[in-house]
Symmetry: C2
Amino acid sequence: MKVAIIGGHGFLGQRLAKRLLQKGEAVGPDGALQPIDELILIDQVAPEAPLEGVTTIIGDVAEPGFFDRALGDDVTSVFHLAAIVSSAAEADFDLGMRVNLDATRALLELCRAMPIAPRLVFTSSVAVFGNAPPMIEDDTPALPLSSYGTQKVIGEYLVNDYSRKGYLDGRCLRLPTVVIRPGKPNRAASSFASSILREPLQGEMAICPVDTGLSLWIQSPRVVVENLIHAHDLATDAWSDGARILNLPGLTVTVAEMIEALARASGDTSLIRHEPDAEIARIVGSWPGAMNTPRATRLGFSKDETIDAIVAAFRQEELGGAR
Amino acid sequence: MKVAIIGGHGFLGQRLAKRLLQKGEAVGPDGALQPIDELILIDQVAPEAPLEGVTTIIGDVAEPGFFDRALGDDVTSVFHLAAIVSSAAEADFDLGMRVNLDATRALLELCRAMPIAPRLVFTSSVAVFGNAPPMIEDDTPALPLSSYGTQKVIGEYLVNDYSRKGYLDGRCLRLPTVVIRPGKPNRAASSFASSILREPLQGEMAICPVDTGLSLWIQSPRVVVENLIHAHDLATDAWSDGARILNLPGLTVTVAEMIEALARASGDTSLIRHEPDAEIARIVGSWPGAMNTPRATRLGFSKDETIDAIVAAFRQEELGGAR
């Protein structure tokens, strides 16, 4: 089978690719495990360190005709992770619409044109909830207060309807904030949530733009990747019509609790500079800090147990246990 | 002020135009009543009987650049009623996407480009609810089971986000099934709901494709038009961010109760031929039959009192009281 990862050079895409290479197989259209014959990574930028054993395609996913040129009609599965992140989509509305909405539609159209409807895993976000109640339930309506959240919820509805029509076999996951994201800060409004742990653990300064009382709903990169593959491999009939959109389980932590975990891991908490940013505080503050996710739990999705375990895994996996 | 009605030659558009001409004024950008200087009706087809005192523009709303050519940049208010209806959008997915999604986006982009953000009233539908619970509440999540419902809910989210960004001042109304729609049957899955009253009242045969126990959530054309204007005229701060989408009040009737009302109005119920249609029954059966709409009531939206009053008004207004 042929598997494509759109946004394959981002940190989640790279991690997902490594895990798929390691497993060597995934569930195919007939519902049985099949060997992965080709793994295609598509992104607008080149990978930092190219992975061996993958096909690399660089290009602008929002350019008309891009997907038709980049992918054949024999793709079995697509993981669609590519997005303009929250603060960037808020700052550049047209860019967000082009990538988060138009490119998603182009991808869905390509899937529809394939002779065998592929499985598609679409990453949405808890950003679809704006000024949400303190506890989000499986059936809480999405009312985003950001263009990013709006574009994500529209993507979910499209994937849902294309699936209902039989054009593809879609699964939408609303991801928690991913902590600890390795690499550099990006333009996700939640970028600080990784920075305040990642940078001090490496002896560098980090900026915290929000109140330390803010609650976040988080999941580690390792658990996100396991959940992406789990969503892909689940049987089609686990995703009934109108129920292809799923809130993932997660862990509630306050910013203060993250800083306490940093201290326990011997990180220097004085490296965090508190610089309030009203716009970031507004966007992140409108996202849910806690969710009740019985449906995802019933379907076998997993969550992290503690923030300390997430910090320990980051030190082990990304810092080589050196600090 | 300059008011445009997209879909202005449909029966609701024509009725809305007449009512606006009669009133002669509407609430302008400053929040005060202003005279309507120009009323522009846009549609793909010519009107059956052209209205005096309006500007008529015929064209394909989904054609790129159409709105830029058809409308200036000085439009104060837009009523967007144009749509490919439910069964037609289900039968021709691409046509539905082109008109219900792409044309709506093009219209929103034109509004965004105007120097003064116009008021926009967007007609959505109870079709956004699929396999809904027996009673829909103001915060019941939309999970459509039709492409029409999907396209409408996407339109709502776009109007909501464009409004939040200040690109326009949008108001989305989820309309009940409109009964009694005059004219001929159309490709709305709910078209039978008008036919089974309208045709027999005129001595003609009608087809009923659903079980008579089916409950419908209905509103008369007169009340729909009053609610469209009410939505337009309401102050901007009645429509807070993320709350620009409204379930309208309505009346719950079963198909059997409609047929009983027909009998009371001296209509010949033997003119209704019962021919079950599984696809129509599936689509309409997934829509809500009852809704609890405290928010709309608080905002001053109105509803019909009885099905008999709706039948009487139709006979008076459309049949000239002749039958």
